[in-house]
Amino acid sequence: MHQIIKQILRTGIKTEAPPQPDDALRHEMQQINAQILHHVGRALAIRHVDAGSCNACELEIHCLNNAYYNIEGLGIHFVASPRHADMLLVTGPVSRHMEIALKRTYDATPDPKLVVALGDCGCDGGIFGESYASRGRIANVIPVDVAVPGCPPAPIAILQGILTAVSSRKVV
């Protein structure tokens, strides 16, 4: 045990300052309504849904939980059920085999809810595009509030996208 404590003390605090929200990432601001204001100030619960990614976006989402980004320290945590979530963080393209599961996850998330689409594929279908097996971008299947480009987007960009979506709740 003393070895663990020693290592923790030696490691120190790695957490860095979070990024600011980015207005450029925001779209469909008219969707934001007064109801959402209710929820500002409360910890944000996110449900991640992989709708067909190559798994690189997932690697960067995992990194958000590391000590440098310390997403929980910002009051954001990932939850196991869409029924506990304020926000869906969706990677894609949406494969046709995930289309129904994604819609059901969206429907199971209580209103008001936010959706952040992640990665070039989530934004526009990316290199996989639309085909017999792919519906392309997330917005083709469920409404999207903020789309974060990148292949994959760096943790800071993901965090910025999340904060952009959250801060849009303060508007109106």
Binding site: G52, N55, E60, C63, N66, H97, I127
Partner: protein
């Protein structure tokens, strides 16, 4: 036909790896597969292709590894009788590969005990085959009922736990059906294919140059291995030899990819055994490595750094110093963390004997790669079939025989140490030169190129069949997860449900890589 005759009768394909290719009859296909099996060899990949436009038949291709190297056997299949002999009785891992060939091309394994669909769920009708040339890739069909026939398990006190496709964590989608009594798992049945996004069909719209980017996105965590395998395949069909410095840089990138994946998984393995400290510590090291990748090579996961003909990045003195410093730091920290893992009673209690795959079972089922090496399957292409620069580095393969989570943890620790040793040697001996890319000649039409790379999870294979004007007629990319997913069903048997996340993470298989 005798195995020895094969390598003397059929030509060796040009390129970096020892690969022989020839067309065989159905009888010879079975006979050669049996000889490979009995000689201690293994099945690497199995795929089909539509060649009806060129010569009025389909074909089945089987890649095997035997002592001299890789044998790729092609069996022409009459378009009026689209069937091939079942190989799953010899190689159980062929089961899902064969079912995928049926789903994608409409070729049927005669006599196979399991002929359920696999990659096809509901996105296209059963009588249409996406990898046939007549199939319109832009077509969209109304979603049907999947109606997959899971194997029912009955008995006193047996109940089912169905999980996924959307999992309770940041994980790729798949469906797991556990049949349990109390906490004990009697049987697990996997249903994958949720991420099928038409990758192989997509390749057929691309040129050899364009395909490189897509190859790097088949499974993001293995982007370097896929990009290298793809580049090898293209270089084989264009007769290109990349500059030596480029080859050394490729190996450097591949070892960095191995390190960041093992570091991340070691962190999660601690986490899943309730030692959150392990997650915190290893993910600091992983982030250190990823940031170094970004600074030195311009991408945290090293995507698109390997391109056909060479590499799209270089290493200067500052980069070299940055890598050395990062490795020194990681090495120092890992020594401390390994001691903590080794001596932590709670962690070892969860790791030891959990999710055990004994060497005999591993051999029978074809367990491969890192997980295979933890179950006594001593295969590592870097050591056995070394291309440049591995032929000068004398790679030490990490193996273990216990086959449990603990063994997979030990193999990962050892592979990180070996990767660091290799990287240091590469930094020391890196050939100098300004050339990082060699020009590609035009590819001949209708030839096969193979890429074969030992990624962090196991061997990645890229089989490239060329079309006209440097186009891709057919591309099959094979992930070692094809072999290892079915073994996971065995690893969980008789374990308790709460150990599944731990066992699953100790394998950490790709969904995207097999759903294609």
């Amino acid at each position: 036909m005798k195995l020895d005759d094969f390598t003397s009768t059929f030509p060796r394909l040009p390129g970096a790896m020892p690969v022989w290719h020839g067309s065989v009859s159905a009888e010879d296909l079975r006979a050669l597969c049996e000889q490979v099996l009995h000689g201690g060899g293994k099945l690497v990949a199995l795929w089909g292709s539509d060649e009806t436009q060129a010569n009025a038949h389909y074909a089945l291709h089987v890649a095997l590894v035997a002592a001299p190297g890789m044998l790729v056997l092609s069996l022409p299949i009459d378009h009026e009788k689209p069937a091939f002999p079942d190989l799953s009785d010899l190689f159980p891992a062929a089961n899902r590969m064969q079912r995928s060939v049926t789903d994608m091309l409409g070729l049927h394994p005669v006599g196979a005990s399991d002929q359920r669909k696999w990659l096809r769920h509901a996105a296209w009708p059963g009588k249409l085959y996406p990898l046939r040339k007549a199939f319109d890739s832009a077509g969209s069909f109304p979603l049907e009922e999947d109606g997959y026939a899971f194997v029912p398990v009955t008995g006193n006190g047996v109940h089912e736990i169905a999980v996924g496709p959307v999992h309770a964590g940041t994980i790729e989608p798949g469906h797991f059906r556990f049949s349990v009594v109390g906490e004990r798992v009697l049987r697990l049945e996997e249903r994958l294919g949720y991420k099928h996004k038409g990758i192989e069909k997509r390749f057929e719209d691309m040129t050899l140059q364009q395909g490189a980017k897509l190859a790097g996105r088949i499974s993001g965590d293995s982007t370097v291995a896929y990009a290298w395998a793809y580049a090898q395949a293209v270089e084989s069909v264009t007769g290109c030899t990349p500059p030596r410095r480029a080859l050394w840089l490729r190996a450097l990138l591949l070892e960095l990819e191995r390190m960041h994946n093992h570091l991340g998984d070691l962190g999660y393995l601690g986490n899943d055994a309730a030692l959150v400290f392990g997650f915190a510590q290893f993910w600091i090291l992983k982030e250190d490595l990823l940031r170094m990748n970004g600074e030195v090579f311009g991408h945290r996961y090293l995507m698109d750094r390997i391109i056909p003909g060479g590499v799209a990045c270089d290493l200067d003195e500052a980069g070299l110093a940055r890598i050395t410093a990062t490795l020194n730091h990681i090495e120092h920290e890992i020594a401390i963390l390994k001691d903590i893992y080794d001596e932590h009673a709670g962690v070892q209690d969860r790791f030891l004997t959990t999710g055990r795959v004994m060497p005999e079972l591993a051999a029978r089922l074809g367990l491969t790669g890192m997980a295979g090496r933890a179950s006594g399957q001593a295969w590592d292409a870097r050591a056995q079939f070394p291309c440049v620069p591995y032929d000068q580095l004398d790679v030490r393969m990490a193996t273990h025989r216990n086959g449990d989570v603990a063994a997979r943890v030990i193999v990962r620790f050892e592979e990180i140490a070996e990767s660091m040793r290799l990287i240091r040697l590469m930094l020391e001996r890196m050939p100098v030169g300004d050339d990082l890319i060699a020009p590609l000649a035009d590819a001949q039409e209708g030839v096969l190129g193979i890429g074969w790379v030992e990624g962090w999870r196991g061997e990645i294979l890229v089989a490239l069949h060329t079309g006209k004007n440097n186009s891709i007629q057919r591309l099959h990319a094979h992930d070692p997860s094809w072999q290892n997913w079915p073994v996971l069903e065995h690893a969980i048997m008789d374990n308790i449900v709460p150990d599944f996340p731990l066992i699953n993470k100790s394998f950490n298989l790709s969904y995207s890589g097999v759903d294609l």
